[in-house]
Amino acid sequence: MAGKMKTTSPGQAPLVALEAITKAYPGVVANDDVSLDLGVGEIHAIVGENGAGKSTLVGVLNGLVRPDSGRILLAGEEIEVESPRQALGLGFGYVQQHFSLIPTLTVAQNVILALRGSPEAIDARQGSRRVRELGERFGLRLDPDARVGDLSVGEQQRAELLKALARGTRVLSLDEPNALLTPQEWIELEGVLRGLAESGVGLLLISHKLDEVLRLADRISVMRRGRLVATTTAREIDVERLAALMVGELVEAPPPRRRTADHGRVALATADLGVDGDRGERAVTAVDLSVAAGEVLGVAGVEGSGQVELAEALCGARRAATGTITLEGEDIGRRSVAERMGLGLGHVPADRRNGGLVATLSVDDNLVLPIIGQAPFTRWGVTRPKAIAAHGAELIERFDVRVPDGSVAVGSLSGGNQQKVVLARELSRPLRALVCCYPTWGLDLHAAASIRTEILKLSEAGVAILYMSVELDELLAVSDRILVLNRGRVTGELDAREATSEQLGLMMGGQERSAA
């Protein structure tokens, strides 16, 4: 697959080159002296862990980020890219992971905006027709008059691409374009991207899915902690060595879990559960699931497939529109979050910074928050700082949270330590069931492994665990059974020992499969 090589011939300037780019943010250097180039018709992938600085680098190229130093060369000429507007004018298109279309406007209106002030500008009145023509030219079928907010995730991705290509794009950057797609949808997109490269467009592709990158890219650059640590051709490297470069050492695959065939009785179960999302749409439909004590039930699905809403409904933060939720046989569907906590339900929310923790409060305060009203932390409504500090110190010690003391704001901690605080808070109560949503998201491999270990320890102690993730390898490693969601519906359930990523991918894309 990676047989074709289109690097620049000697003496000829690359299509675009970033030279010695440095960008610092408060508390972090996102890009530290990074240089990278891209040839005509080349697909150049940038890989690295979360926070390695990939998005910042591509942001610099596309005018979203102003670097502190360094320069950008277009066909050998130094250029200034001061705004996204200017980047668009230079022929730089960018498909971002999030936040790049206006949901209240139609597809056509979004494209009209992107073309504003350029020679290709479309008059607002004849928008739909022109946008439909554009879509046909690039093989991206879309209803130009549909509101972006009403489109499915895959359609939004196509709209993003259309917007990026509409302006005669020469350099197209894509930030994790596969995060929201099923493996099969991604293969379709790969075809489109290859076609673009063949027509001479240079592609910069950010991804952390290494096998996909190896399949598609001509060259691969690896970033780690703001620095570019290697650039290599795809032929010369394999997944294991790429992963080692990303984290700076060889990584062992997570040891397979010791699975036992029979578990205790059912701890957490739902029947015909339906949940509405933020925009009033039905995000989860007719979900029946049950997790036994000591069992780990994985829930697979692409982002936006209803995992978050399911987790929030189970813990009580979102009301169930239909169906029932039972904890050890007791109907908890109408109980509040606090009551469910009291009954032994734990929850590791999808986003630790928006859902897990209150960044402005101290570590101690975050740890005591759900039980602040209880003795010995409060008497007559007045808090007792010593008791709160002691409670915090104990949990910090037990869960090995790396923090000078419990009075620092939790927002100043690293992602891994923040997640430990969330776990410490949930695991400090007696639990019967734990719902974890993306518990290792955005963590480096070591932190992820230690969080996984803590959760699995809990299952050995007889707690029922619902483990939601978008990473199939992770699910295959930790689960007993895996439930697959597609657009909020269960498309099937597999035994984790027999399941494969391919099977799961097909089911995530909507193919039904009856329980094994």
Binding site: P84, S100, I102, A114
Partner: protein, 308 residues
């Protein structure tokens, strides 16, 4: 006009009460569409009224008065922009403070700069009678026998509707008020769009204040806007962030206000305070979603700073 009936008189009063309100509310509509809220509308109007009178005095003309009124409003808007866009302060706080500032500074200048000139009369704007239309019963005298600033205000409504709904600049404005980050990546210069909208709002609110002072009473008095700016704010909400909706809200509020002036003549005794409460109460009801669902710009009052 002595021979006109109650409805005619009511509408005539309503149009003269409503014109300053309409200018100001349309300005706020433009600004809020891009995500900038101006609690200091009241202050912009006061500045407009003050500088309008001053300008009319300096230039011996009404045109000069309105130019100065617009500049006066824009000056306060610029201050709001510096505080919020450059120094990233909360838009609501800035608005509250600027109202106090505008009230203080216009009163201060009134008693020092304008003091002796208050009584000098300002040339009124002549009414322009539109043939035929002005003789339509009831609405003719109200809408077609007015000064030029009334016509400009009314014509601004379709113009602003066209701007917001039929031009790519309008799309850019909506994008800036809805998802500033996404707008920026679509090539919209959010900062500039918001600055322009804010300054336009300042000009329009200034003209609104100028209309109140120049066309209304012909001089400036301390705190002469007496809350009209807040009613304009309400009109944008009640008008559901649409140009013609704002016109409807302004008409409703203005008729209620005019009714309070005219009702006594009919022998109807509704305490005027209750009619004066109407704009606030109906806006509350509208906000509570008890009428139709209204969708304010998602990023209203949220500052946007690229690059950090």
């Amino acid at each position: 006009m002595g021979s006109h009936g109650f409805v005619t008189l009511l509408l005539v009063s309503a149009v003269s009460v409503g014109t300053p309100l309409l200018y100001t509310a349309l300005g706020e509509l433009i600004s809020e569409t891009t995500g900038v809220i101006n609690i200091e509308l009241e202050g912009m109007m006061l500045c407009g009224a003050f500088f309008g009178i001053l300008g009319a005095y300096w230039t011996h003309g009404v045109v000069g008065g309105f130019v100065c009124a617009a500049l006066g409003g824009a000056l306060l808007a610029a201050l709001h922009g510096v505080i919020c866009f450059v120094f990233r302060a909360n838009q609501v706080v800035s608005g509250v403070i600027l109202n106090i500032f505008a009230l203080g500074i216009t009163s201060f200048l009134l008693s020092t700069v304008l003091a002796e000139r208050v009584s000098k009369s300002i040339t009124h704007l002549a009414d322009i009678k539109i043939p035929l239309l002005s003789s339509i019963p009831a609405i003719g005298p109200a809408f077609f026998d007015q000064d030029v600033m009334v016509y400009v205000a009314l014509l601004s409504v379709p113009a602003i509707w066209w701007l917001l709904n039929r031009t790519s600049l309008g799309l850019a404005m909506k994008a800036a008020g809805e998802r500033p980050q996404a707008a920026e990546s679509l090539g919209v210069d959010v900062g500039r769009t918001r600055w322009l909208a804010l300054l336009a709002c300042g000009c329009l609110a200034g003209i609104g204040g100028g209309q109140l002072a120049i066309a209304g009473i012909g001089f400036f008095t301390e705190n002469m806007t007496a809350g009209i700016g807040y009613i304009a704010l309400a009109a944008v909400i009640f008008g559901r962030w649409r140009a013609f909706g704002v016109l409807g809200a302004v008409l409703l509020f203005a008729i209620a206000d005019a009714f309070q002036i005219r009702a006594a003549g009919l022998g109807v005794h509704i305490p005027y305070q209750f009619l004066a409460m109407l704009p606030y109460l109906v806006t509350l009801v509208a906000l509570a979603g008890l009428l139709r669902r209204s969708n304010p710009p998602s990023a209203l009052a949220v500052n946007y700073h690229p690059n950090d």
